[in-house]
């Protein structure tokens, strides 16, 4: 099976205003995906404005100079397209997939808000989207069992004031403080063509697409530059175990464990990614076999990498207890299993299992134009090289058991384990009273 024969085509150019443009033609279906990455995320937020990058993403659907509120959604759906946006720690993306003949509509909508957002911004729109986002926070975190792990785990794994330490969704009070001035300032600083990558994948003509991009985006002025992020570097391990116990409205204990690991895309990342797969990808993984199938202490077990491209990545293990498993048993069993894999190492067979599954996933993912465009934007944004999308399978195939074992011995040691343990509220008084106090004094 020759994965290399499936390379996706890549054309790249840059507009005079600094906008990086990636084109990838494919005429198998009459559709085209447009994907825009801005190199800004929650890491860029200033003190007192946690959650602002994401709130700002919501405001980008509230219209621009020539587009009414919610008209962006309506125009794309009326054209038979799909769309959305998302915010992450170090990037924000916006994307549409539309029938081939609607490419310029998608480009016009993206260009109009990149160039002329501010005339459409009003206090009322900001107030409404603040309410929407605060409800998003309640829905995804505050009223959801274990929901706060999204903000507690990075807070545990990165030191205070590190750009990845604070909450992506933001605190209620910081969201309350966001103003129209913040919108204008954030827009001018980060939403500029030279801080963005535009990818187009699917059924289009290259010359026509180039002309459309130049027509729609060409007149948007370059930005004045953005402030550099503070130093993202952290030590490769915590130095000693980190632990937080949270008493919550949950029925079963659940443990999240984060180890600092090599940043996404680095040479060492691929061994870490394979290690995560051996530990917790699907039913053939170590955690599933041992804790779920054999010992029957856990109802669910998985592991994955966060895929952070700056400072440090995190390898996360996530295990939920069975009803008859105590908090102590759960924690001991997870640590024991990790100790065992560090001590005895993994085999070439285990590496092969994970690499084969990842290869199938890579091919399955590339079927979708939207996914191809997103991957192109990602590799161009993080590494300046969209061609890396065609290198991933090869990089995984070169990972050896020795590399995985070297990673495990250096990074999965107890001194590099941050444990976040959720405990049902009514049992904690009896079994974990001491830790309760700890959890309530963050």
């Amino acid at each position: 099976m020759q994965i290399s024969s499936m390379d996706i085509p890549i054309e790249r150019f840059t507009l005079p205003n600094g906008l990086t443009v990636i084109l990838s033609e494919d005429h198998t279906a009459p559709l085209v995906a447009v994907n825009l990455w801005y190199h800004v995320g929650s890491a860029n937020e200033r003190h007192g404005r946690t959650g602002f990058a994401h709130l700002f993403e919501h405001m980008l659907f509230q219209g621009s100079a020539d587009v009414g509120a919610n008209e962006h959604f309506e125009l794309v759906q009326r054209a038979g397209g799909t769309l959305n946006g998302s915010t992450w720690l170090d990037r924000t993306n916006y994307f549409e997939t539309v029938p081939s003949n609607q490419l310029e509509l998608a480009l016009w909508l993206e260009a109009n808000r990149m160039g002329w957002l501010l005339p459409a911004m009003t206090q009322q729109k900001l107030d409404t989207q603040r309410d929407v986002v605060q409800n998003e926070r309640r829905w995804s975190m505050d009223n959801q069992p274990y929901g706060t792990w999204w903000e507690r785990l990075p807070a545990l794994a990165f030191p205070a004031h590190h750009p990845f330490h604070h909450s992506l969704i933001g605190s209620m009070s910081d969201l309350d403080a966001a103003s129209l001035d913040d919108i204008a300032q954030f827009f001018a600083t980060y939403y500029t063509p030279d801080n963005a990558v535009l990818s187009i994948a699917g059924d289009f003509d290259e010359a026509e697409a180039r002309a459309m991009v130049e027509r729609q985006f060409g007149s948007i002025p370059r930005g004045a530059g953005k402030p550099a992020l503070p130093d993202m570097a952290v030590p490769s391990t915590y130095g000693s175990p980190v632990r937080e116990v949270v008493s919550d409205d949950v029925m079963l204990p659940r443990l999240f464990l984060a180890a600092r690991s090599p940043v996404f895309g680095s040479e060492a990342y691929y061994a870490a990614s394979v290690a995560a797969g051996i530990i917790g990808m699907k039913k053939g993984s170590r955690m599933y076999r041992t804790l779920v199938r054999d010992q029957q202490l856990a109802a669910e077990a998985q592991a994955f990498t966060y895929d952070l491209a700056k400072g440090s990545d995190l390898l996360v293990v996530d295990v939920t207890a069975r009803p008859d498993t105590t908090v102590e048993q759960l924690e001991e069993a997870v640590h024991a299993e990790l100790d065992r894999i560090v001590d005895t190492g993994v085999t070439a067979d285990e590496v092969a299992r994970v690499v084969t599954m990842i290869e199938t996933d890579l091919v399955a993912t590339l079927q979708s134009a939207s996914e191809r465009a997103d991957k192109l934007s990602m590799f161009a944004t993080y590494f300046g090289d969209p061609g890396l999308v065609n290198e991933q399978a090869r990089r995984y195939r070169t990972v050896t058991a020795e590399q995985v074992n070297a990673f495990l011995r250096s990074r999965l040691v107890r001194a590099n384990r941050a444990t976040l343990l959720y405990v049902p509220r009514e049992v904690d008084a009896a079994t974990s009273g001491n830790e309760l106090a700890m959890a309530e004094a963050p």
């Binding site: 409800n135 309640r138 505050d142 009223n143 199938t360 091919v363 079927q367």
Partner: protein, 432 residues
């Protein structure tokens, strides 16, 4: 095929990959009374031991082929599915044959999967969305209707299930004549046929008894219920009633009507609750399409102190849908979206296989997808109004809210026009 098994193939040659779904007439609707959950348990046990291989070995074999297998049962059918690179497809399908034709159902795995289901049910007690869905179903259907309890069974029924129940359900339901193999991807018709004949051609068995999906839709009257979650920062809302079956003659009218009401981001309910009022992160309506009449439900989560106002807006939008013809612009937004998005929905082999499986499950004609876009475009503002008047029923609206009764009971009662009953979910026992 000669043994009554069906084969559906969709060649897609873009990439060397293929998706398989095997569907069996073995869903929850086929369960004997008192054995609720046995369909899901049986389906989930298929990869937990087959032929000479135990569950761990089977998982290992599949995953070494890069093809992790999933098996589950919903209301209508059981399904086993996987995606693999073409080169690995024959080996992966041979394993699928083993788990369909020679499952072992080890006692230990039966016990383990029962315990995992009980753990899931326990979790749900503290999970507002799952709890709201479960309690909404119970508020919709009479207790003896299968749709009243979860397809995977509740704690009482799951506890009582035995390996004998699983063996009996498997023997009664897993037959070649009740099975369809769907393959979408980089294979030819001839290759697929050869594979199917080789692996399943000698599987014999009589046709199983037909499944009768009987649902009592004759419930009447309104209901307003609070499922108590003290101090909840949000109320999880479910508003609706028994909907209609997938086979309804005016399916397209009802689907487009729902798209306008609450199916799309730009729908009336979402624009009202989210964009005009900021009550919620999102609000949507849906008909749950099953062989029998599944729920029609409006779902959202709103800040606790606007629970009554949100319910009033939802009920108002439903009334308006029944009262006035929608505008031409609203109609074309929905129909041009559903029409245009068609190729985008079927970009992957997994999506194509699922769409073909859907034809089989609901006995839709072979040219269904060829005619789909025409039928969407044939919907009119008049036919949408007729569908709204026929299928939205304010007089039997069931309102279920998981939230804090001390905050929401009074405003909710005012909005619903009746005093809500308050239910305190039982805390299942947990060993100390």
């Amino acid at each position: 095929m000669g043994n009554g098994m069906h084969l559906v193939v969709a060649p897609v040659t873009k990439l060397p990959i293929a998706s398989v779904i095997v569907i069996v007439e073995a869903g929850a609707s086929a369960e004997p009374t008192g054995k609720e959950g046995v369909a899901a348990l049986t389906a989930r046990l298929l990869p937990e031991g087959a032929g000479d291989l135990d569950g761990a070995a089977l998982a290992e074999r599949f995953e070494r082929l890069g093809a992790s297998v999933e098996s589950h049962a919903d209301w209508d059918v059981a399904a086993v599915s996987l995606t693999a690179l073409t080169a690995q497809l024959p080996a992966a399908l041979a394993l699928v044959r083993d788990l369909l034709r020679a499952p072992v159902f080890p006692e230990r795995e039966v016990a383990r999967l029962k315990e995992e289901r009980l753990a899931e049910l326990l979790q749900q007690r503290a999970e507002p969305r799952g709890l709201a869905d479960e309690q909404f179903a119970r508020a919709l259907y009479a207790p003896d209707v299968r749709y009243a309890s979860p397809p995977e069974g509740d704690s009482g029924s799951v506890r009582a299930l035995t390996r004998g129940d699983v063996l009996a359900f498997y023997a009664a339901r897993y037959r070649p004549a009740a099975t369809t193999l769907v393959i979408a991807g980089d294979v030819t018709q001839a290759q697929a046929r050869t594979l199917a004949d080789t692996l399943f051609g000698d599987w014999v068995g009589d046709s199983p008894a037909p499944v009768v999906t009987a649902v009592d839709t004759a419930q009447s009257g309104r209901l307003t219920r609070i499922v108590s979650k003290p101090d909840a920062p949000q109320s999880e809302l479910r508003v609706g009633h028994v909907g209609l079956a997938r086979g309804a003659p005016d399916y397209f009218d009802a689907m487009v009507m729902n798209a306008v009401l609450g199916g799309l981001f730009s729908s009336r309910i979402n624009l009202n609750l989210r964009e005009a009022h900021g009550y919620t992160y999102g609000a949507f309506s849906a008909f749950e399409w099953r062989r029998g009449a599944g729920p029609f439900v409006v779902s959202t989560a709103v800040k606790s102190d606007v629970t009554g106002a949100a319910v009033r807006e939802i009920l108002g939008e439903i009334e308006r849908m029944r009262r006035d013809e929608i505008g031409e612009e609203e109609l074309t937004l929905a129909t041009s979206y559903l029409d245009g998005v068609f190729p985008i929905r079927y970009e992957t082999t997994a999506a194509i296989a699922a769409a073909l499986a859907n034809l089989v499950i609901h006995a839709l004609p072979d040219d269904y997808y060829d005619r789909y876009r025409d039928r969407v475009r044939a919907v009119t503002t008049r036919s949408v109004l007729r569908a709204a008047q026929a299928h939205l029923h304010p007089d039997r609206m069931r309102i279920v809210v998981v939230g804090d009764p001390t905050v929401i009971a009074t405003p909710l009662g005012e909005a619903a026009g009746m005093t809500p009953d308050v239910m305190v979910p039982e805390r299942m026992e947990r060993p100390a």
